[in-house]
Symmetry: D2
Subunit: 110 residues, 4 copies
């Protein structure tokens, strides 16, 4: 049975193929595109307290970020669930609960 992640990837592939856009999608430009959208999400919080940011814009920019991230994963044949769970595990070692609990310190300051 098709997973949610696979459903999304199929729609992204179809969207790009219909428009013959894969020719533009090298990793460097995709990474630039993702950074541009990340900054548009950031902009929704500029000069504001977190609670005052516009939810529709957060939703829109987050969707753009996720779509770029999924396309980059697809381009490099990276299994999205696997790389995310793997990074959570590695972060668990960098930030052991007994040292990191309740602390915002970076791992090299723990």
């Amino acid at each position: 049975m098709e997973t949610d992640i696979e459903t999304i990837l199929k729609e992204l592939r179809k969207f790009n193929q219909e428009r013959d856009w894969n020719q533009f999608h090298n990793g460097k430009d995709l990474a630039i595109g993702l950074s541009v959208e990340a900054a548009e999400l950031l902009e929704t919080f500029l000069w504001k307290d977190p609670e005052d940011a516009n939810l529709d814009k957060i939703r829109e920019e987050l969707a753009d970020i996720l779509n770029y991230a999924f396309q980059i994963a697809d381009k490099y044949n990276l299994d999205i669930k696997e790389i995310m769970l793997d990074k959570i595990l590695r972060n668990a070692k960098k930030y052991p609960v007994e040292k990191a609990k309740g602390s915002a310190k970076k791992y090299n300051e723990l």
Copy 2:
């Protein structure tokens, strides 16, 4: 049956709860964190042709970006699959195939 997306979200929630980190996770700082990781992904391509970027670093930074993006979605109760598919549909209207095919132009220049 639990979806892949739900599995990942559960691991992220558990990771944050064990470390009592939700207190730091307002939308503004999460958006900053995501931008910081997006720039670390970008840095893997700096001065390089796309094909020469280090795949391990791409994998690592992309996982960090995705983990932040999923946490932001979770914080705002946004359904990840729904917002992504919805944005693909809206992009399909902004970039109709007959106008956008083979073109890298932004929608307001089509």
Copy 3:
């Protein structure tokens, strides 16, 4: 008499020429470099109140950002003082005092 801006530009040009680095300095990679440094400055504020950021790191990252910005201006033959003063003037029209005073609203919301 040489201006401060000219002094800095001369040092940057000398630095790059000694190392034969101009070959790498196309506008796209310089813009990527600047974004990478901008994110490093941002990172000094991550999870923190503004007053708690490390001043040495702010100083270091800001210097990196300025060095990239001056190099980009130099590459495109842009007069730094002229483009900055010109933009302040244009912002003054976008944000007239009578409408913008005391408000954090973006110009299209005034």
Copy 4:
């Protein structure tokens, strides 16, 4: 005699005072603002070869970046010329000519 840098800083201070905007200008939001503009500069190169980016947009976004960078320096009482020249000197040690000439490698890979 007033330097160019001092002239620009005076105009920025006047602009902010007239609009009573200093209340919003904490370091964290200024750093966010700078990152947002850095991404707008980056966007001028998205999907393009460096030579095809629009010069007017490069000029505009670079001016925005510089204006934010100068305001951050002013807020933290950092002497712009001093921190830039100091960083060039430190980079000269990190990237000695005999090792770094003609190479795009990062200092920890030299």
